[in-house]
């Protein structure tokens, strides 16, 4: 969720000085944004420092990412301001950007617009830069999809070209630098820049880099990395040339429209934008910004039904107006014009949410739904609870360990070999602890004992949880399995104690100890399980009417395994799959 800082005094003044911090916090809550902090509440402000409000904005509300947009939306919501309309200045001969065919190799799209006679001051300048950062980050997906370049139009000469050239063939002085650099030097130089280094990968491996030139072959920007120092904007800039490059047409239009609708507020003729024409190699040309408005047709019955209120057409139109949505009634329908500032609205459910906000979420009448449905537990969870309770009643303590672990936990430390058919491997773990999904519960239990050495022996713990196994027979190639694992750690291994617990659990599930030949029951079959001490190691087998299933293993943990887990006391354990009891 993006966070913005706005000047408290400026905002409160705009809202008619009717709010204090607490009342504004409530307004935010109602409107669906969140006042995180008022910097003047934290303590004394420094000399000359102005109080800032730190506000969390929902990720879809690009129109609220700067003070210009926030005041506009809240002003209309509170009935203090009118809904703004935005215009493209009629221009017979607009500035033009011609796109070279090489751009399609790396970053094919560009749009542009011009803000004329802008009055900037330090605060507005900062707001403009901050908004570009936010848009580059969110909608632009860290500049990958979209990145913005803004220039002082009076320092450059149209018509402009958007080209893709070899790194060694471009030369310019980047923003706030003095050294002239080529493409290779730029990569080297900004590889050390804490901010820009994160964007280098977008073009680094391309044979050609995207560049915006003016008519005099002056480099204006190297998207998506850096603008040139030559065309930079200052507080004295009057006319702003905006170029935005992209790989995604929908998003680049959103970004351009947000940027110009927000900042045309500071033009001499507010809310007007001068268009820029873009000509592609195939001869097709487009004029930006695209201010063609869309409408959504909905109805009172739909909207009332979603929100749970009963409002007439005209009441709904009035409520939507609070959200800066202009709607008109056409017979049984309500036709809503989507503002240029709200590209997040895709269909009528989006209108319904705004209606609910305008009405007030907390004023919606509460109506109980009386549709009867039948509750039911999942069989495997019911079975799990039986096993958990049996173990706890038998004086074992339940633990709940992590399902991600290190590769060594399952293999090397347990003296087991990875044959490649058992565990699921993650591609992007942050730590060694998250390399794989566990296929056994035992490592988690051993680690729990290791972390609880301060307690007197015996330590008796168990867990009944899911493990994850590869399984080529499934769609995903993977499946969970519900395992039960228990261990007994004390001065002596005492196989018979952990076996006693297994007997109890089996009996509770209706299976008594039997010999191999019997029809129903369970038995142990000596087996060489590497994680157990030879000779104290067996498979747990289930016999059910002639069908034999291997449930898991039981044994005394191999001393090398104990050593690997930094354990000094003998441990006996069993781990079984309980799904056959379903």
């Amino acid at each position: 969720m993006p966070t913005i800082y706005v000047d408290k005094e400026e905002l409160f003044e705009y809202l008619g000085n009717q709010f204090n911090t607490e009342a504004f916090r409530e307004l935010c809550f109602e409107f669906g944004i969140e006042l995180e902090e008022d910097t003047s509440e934290k303590g004394e402000l420094a000399e000359g420092e102005r109080a800032q409000l730190k506000i969390d904005i929902p990720a879809n509300r690009y129109d609220l990412l700067c003070i210009e947009g926030l005041t506009r939306a809240l002003g209309v919501f509170l009935g203090r301001d009118s809904i703004k309309h935005y215009h493209v200045t009629p221009t017979s001969n607009p500035h033009r950007i011609t796109v070279a065919k090489e751009c399609s190799q790396i970053r094919p799209l560009i749009v542009g617009a011009i803000l004329r006679n802008v009055q900037l001051d330090a605060a507005r300048y900062k707001s403009f830069i901050d908004l570009q950062d936010k848009l580059n980050q969110n909608l632009g997906h860290q500049r990958k999809l979209v990145s913005i370049g803004t220039h002082d139009l009076d320092t450059v000469q149209g018509p402009f070209t958007y080209e893709a050239v070899k790194p060694e063939d471009l030369k310019f002085v980047p923003l706030s630098q003095t050294e002239e650099m080529d493409g290779h030097r730029i990569m080297e130089f900004y590889g050390k820049d804490s901010k820009i280094k994160h964007f280098l990968h977008i073009i680094e491996d391309s044979p050609v880099y995207p560049v915006v030139y003016d008519a005099n072959r002056t480099v204006m920007s190297l998207p998506p990395l850096i603008n040139s120092d030559h065309s930079k904007i200052s507080l004295d800039t009057k006319n702003i040339f905006i170029e935005i490059t992209a790989t995604d047409m929908t998003k680049v239009n959103m970004v351009l429209n947000i940027l110009v609708t927000m900042f045309s507020q500071h033009c001499k003729e507010p809310f007007t934008v001068e268009p820029v024409e873009v000509v592609y190699p195939d001869g097709k040309s487009f004029v930006y910004p695209d201010f063609e408005t869309k409408t959504i047709t909905t109805s009172a019955s739909y909207l009332n039904g979603i929100v749970g209120i009963d409002k007439s057409n005209s009441e709904i139109v009035e409520l939507l107006h609070k959200m800066s949505l202009e709607a008109k009634i056409e017979q049984d329908s309500i036709v809503v014009t989507l503002p240029l500032t709200r590209p997040d609205m895709l269909q009528e459910c989006d209108i319904a949410e705004d209606l609910a906000i305008a009405f007030g979420y907390n004023r919606i009448p509460r109506v109980q739904n009386n549709e009867a449905t039948v509750g039911a537990p999942l069989p495997i969870n019911k079975l799990t609870d039986i096993v958990r309770r049996e173990m706890a009643m038998a004086s074992w303590t339940e633990v709940l360990t992590l399902s991600l672990c290190a590769h060594d936990d399952i293999f090397k430390f347990l003296r087991r070999e990875d044959k490649g058919d058992e565990v699921v491997v993650l591609s992007n773990p942050e730590t060694q602890e998250n390399q794989i999904c566990r296929s056994l519960l035992l490592p988690g239990l051993l680690k729990t004992v290791r972390e609880n050495k301060r307690y007197p022996v015996p330590i008796k713990v168990f867990e009944v949880s899911d493990v994850v196994n590869k399984d080529p027979s499934t769609e995903r190639g993977v499946r969970n399995r519900r395992h039960a694992c228990a261990l007994y750690a004390s001065d002596e291994a005492r196989f018979e104690i952990i076996q006693g617990l297994l007997d109890t659990v089996m009996e509770s599930l209706g299976f008594t100890h039997c010999n191999k030949q019997q029809d129903r029951g369970y038995y142990l079959e000596e087996a060489d399980v590497p994680m157990y001490l030879p000779g104290r190691s067996a498979k747990v087998m289930l016999n059910e009417n002639g069908n034999t299933v291997e449930l898991g293993t039981i044994g005394i943990v191999h001393p090398e395994v104990l050593f690997n887990y930094e354990l000094k006391m003998p441990i006996s354990t069993f781990e079984i799959n309980i799904e056959p009891f379903l």
Binding site: C349, V367, I380, V399, L426, T431, C437
Partner: protein, 499 residues
């Protein structure tokens, strides 16, 4: 022996009424023996006693030396000849060693001697040895009338104190001169012989703890899960099968109408799989999903970007159980419409930095209600009822954004103890782009809500670090001592803050 001492005490009390000081009456009997006898008699209420403390002062080795040969300062004074010639300090030190240093300091402090260059000369003609006299008093009487003197001598490590405990004794409520053995417990033998009728039982100490039954214990997080499950069952929810930690991006994101460039699908937010890497195939309705992302439909203009099948096939560790809810809704859509309620409580994964409140895995509680009459109003009414069963009766709702629900509401509860609103969950109405692609007919509305299981558990049980709740760093003692989970009662911080 101890019986004899007890009888002696009783007969002494019988004849004298009280014993003023056991150390005088029972000379030569050890303190411990006397105390043992008195405790035993007191437990039978035959006697009452009070503890007396006597200080016994004795001389240390240096004290004994100074009693015999005079204090160091007097010895030094005497070694200085009368008159102005005096004696050099080095001469004194050669003669007296350590004593010279200690003695001359005291002499100077007492103004008996003064320094004259490297010499010491007398300033008075004669001195009396008070220290020696005091030591004599302590030696003969084991104490001294002046407390300050005792303190001073002790400071100079000339004397030491030992504390002698003795007792004054009087008759108790059950005083008699005879002893009867008291029983400590009711035994089978007493029942058989009938002796329990005449047996005298030893007084019981009700202030001591019982013996720990050393039974087993359930994990606190799962105790809370049990309570949540009960509430779901009470309100008619069916439990979903969530036994798939690994999910395709299709079910985890695309089917929920989360666009493929959404930040949640970045490597730094979601765990992707290396082996296996891709799901084998997509469900048969995948083109509906592709189409609604690319071109819209069902009344939506869609996201209008090129949708990638390959991206959709990438396997992930599910980031929410909504990945399962969507599969349940898809199944529900295969049959004629009926209202349905589903829930699950299971693990989900986020590729996040681990800290006191975040782990790479945690448990999500999720509920889904499919109903043609569902509205925000009925969702709010349901959540009111649901959370009331957990002792949270004051709720309010904040508009929020989720990519797959619209309208969306964050759920807040007012916490009286902390005096503020706490976010307890998230909720909303699933978007038609998602529901219709899953095959649900137009007009079927589906509400969903979710919260983490760890957060209320940490709150209810006053656990501040999630690593001490989930995972191997748990304290087994904590598991054994956490109370039962009763969500409708004040627990942990709530109960504390309320008091």
């Amino acid at each position: 022996m101890s019986e004899e001492l007890k009888l002696n005490i009783l007969s002494k009390l019988d004849s004298d009424g009280t014993i003023e000081d056991t150390s005088a009456t029972f000379k030569g009997v050890s303190e411990e023996a006397v105390l043992g006898a008195l405790k035993s008699l007191e437990s039978q209420e035959k006697v009452k006693y009070k503890t007396l403390t006597t200080e016994i002062w004795t001389l240390e080795a240096e004290g004994k030396d100074q009693l015999e040969s005079g204090s160091y300062e007097v010895r030094i004074f005497n070694a200085v000849p009368a008159g102005s010639d005096g004696i050099t300090i080095s001469e004194l030190e050669a003669k007296f060693g350590k004593v010279a240093k200690l003695g001359q300091g005291k002499c100077l402090a007492n103004k008996w001697l003064k320094k004259d260059g490297d010499k010491l000369v007398r300033t008075v003609e004669s001195v009396t040895d008070k220290v020696q006299a005091d030591l004599a008093t302590v030696n003969s009487t084991s104490t001294h009338p002046s407390k300050d003197t005792l303190k001073d001598l002790k400071r100079r490590k000339l004397i030491k104190v030992t504390k002698l405990l003795s007792y004054s004794v009087s008759k108790g409520a059950n005083f008699s001169t005879t002893l009867k053995k008291q029983a400590t417990d009711l035994t089978m033998e007493m029942l058989q012989s009938g002796s329990w009728k005449t047996e005298e039982f030893k007084k019981f100490n009700f202030d001591s703890l019982g013996i720990n039954p050393s039974g087993g214990h359930l994990h606190p997080l799962l105790k809370v899960r049990e309570e949540f499950r009960q509430v779901f069952f009470e309100t008619g929810f069916e439990e979903m099968d969530t036994s798939n930690f690994v999910e395709s991006s299709f079910w985890n994101f695309d089917a929920l109408f989360v666009p493929q460039q959404h930040a949640a699908r970045d490597l730094q937010d979601t765990f992707f799989l290396k082996d296996p890497k891709l799901v084998k195939s997509l469900p048969d309705f995948w083109e509906r999903v592709k189409n609604v992302h690319e071109n819209g439909g069902y009344g939506s203009i869609g996201y209008r970007y090129p949708w990638s099948e390959e991206e959709s096939k990438r396997l992930v560790l599910r980031t929410h159980t909504t990945a399962i809810s969507s599969q349940m809704l898809h199944k529900l859509a295969q049959h004629p419409y009926r209202p349905a309620k589903y829930f699950s409580i299971d693990r989900v994964y986020r590729n996040e930095a681990v800290d006191a409140t975040h782990l790479a895995e945690f448990h999500q509680v999720e509920g889904v209600i499919a109903d043609k009459n569902m509205s925000l109003g009925s969702l709010i009414a349901f959540l009111d009822m649901f959370f009331k069963k957990m002792g949270m009766s004051n709720l309010r709702f904040k508009p929020t954004y989720n990519p797959y629900t619209e309208p969306s509401m964050e759920i807040f509860s007012y916490h009286e103890g902390l005096g503020k609103w706490l976010e307890i969950g998230n909720s909303g109405m699933f978007r038609p782009e998602m529901l219709r692609s899953l095959g649900l007919e137009d007009g079927v509305k589906v509400a969903g809500f979710g919260l983490s299981l760890e957060r209320p558990t940490m709150f209810k049980y006053d656990i501040s670090n999630i690593r001490e709740l989930l995972g191997h760093k748990v304290d087994l003692g904590m598991i054994a001592t956490t109370p039962a989970c009763r969500l409708d009662k004040k627990m942990g911080q709530e109960a504390l803050q309320k008091a």
